[in-house]
């Protein structure tokens, strides 16, 4: 599964990460898994200000990621 990052998360983690899919994990579980892997940015990865987007739609914490191969982490937008 590919995780894509934007804004300040991209500075910290790069454009994208490839992680092994973990069954039918939820967004909340993915956040926790990534926060353990990257403790320096754990606070951001777990923050509700960072929204998670699948197939160009914002999804909630209970959304199940099974079957999806792209997940995006979107910090609050800056505007133009």
């Amino acid at each position: 599964m590919k995780i894509l990052f934007f804004g300040m998360l991209r500075d910290a983690l790069g454009d994208e990460l490839e992680v092994a899919p973990a069954g039918d994990e939820t967004v909340a579980q993915l956040r926790t898994r990534l926060a353990r892997l990257y403790p320096d940015v754990a606070r951001d990865l777990l923050s509700p200000r960072i929204r998670v987007c699948v197939a160009d739609a914002i999804v909630g914490e209970d959304f199940r990621l099974g079957g999806h191969d792209h997940v995006e982490f979107l910090p609050p937008v800056s505007g133009g």
Partner: protein, 155 residues
């Protein structure tokens, strides 16, 4: 409606001339040009602004702003050109223009589009200064400016 995202510097004068050349029978054109400042919001010398965009959501957000302006104001045409990627101080970040029969609609449409772009356009903006980098978010003034266009007390 003409909307363009570009990672290349562009001249606002050329955009205005091209926009005006296509008008037929309008009595007013209002345009706005946003330029990268020489100093950051905290007063440091700006090396560059970096506007990160999303491959689909950025253009979708700008399309929605333009479409709402078109429906809401009595304008005949509009143009938005927006940079992404690194932008040097002095370079144009955004060009917005609206044309209408009478001036008020064009003023309002341009004002509306800019207020929405400043808060709702999907960009992540970083100031790279001589003393470091900082990701920026819309200011309280930006949100206040957008709020004036709210049509519902529930929004």
């Amino acid at each position: 409606m003409s909307i363009r995202l570009t990672d290349q510097p562009f001249a606002a004068e050329g955009e205005l001339a091209e926009f005006m050349a296509r008008l037929t029978g309008d009595g007013a054109v209002v345009n706005f040009v946003g330029i990268a400042r020489s100093h950051s919001s905290s007063g440091e010398i700006l090396k560059r602004l970096v506007l990160q965009h999303h491959p689909r959501l950025t253009s979708r957000s700008i399309d929605e702003i333009a479409e709402t302006a078109r429906k809401r104001f009595d304008i005949s045409s509009l143009r938005i050109v927006h940079r992404y990627g690194p932008v040097a101080p002095g370079e144009v970040i955004v060009f917005v223009a609206a044309a209408s029969k009478h001036r008020r609609s064009a003023f309002n449409a341009a004002d509306y589009m800019m207020d929405r772009l400043k808060t709702d356009a999907v960009f992540w903006k970083r100031e790279d200064t001589t003393s470091g980098s900082r990701w920026i978010e819309p200011t309280a003034d930006d949100y206040g400016a957008r709020e004036q266009w709210s049509e519902s007390c529930l929004e």
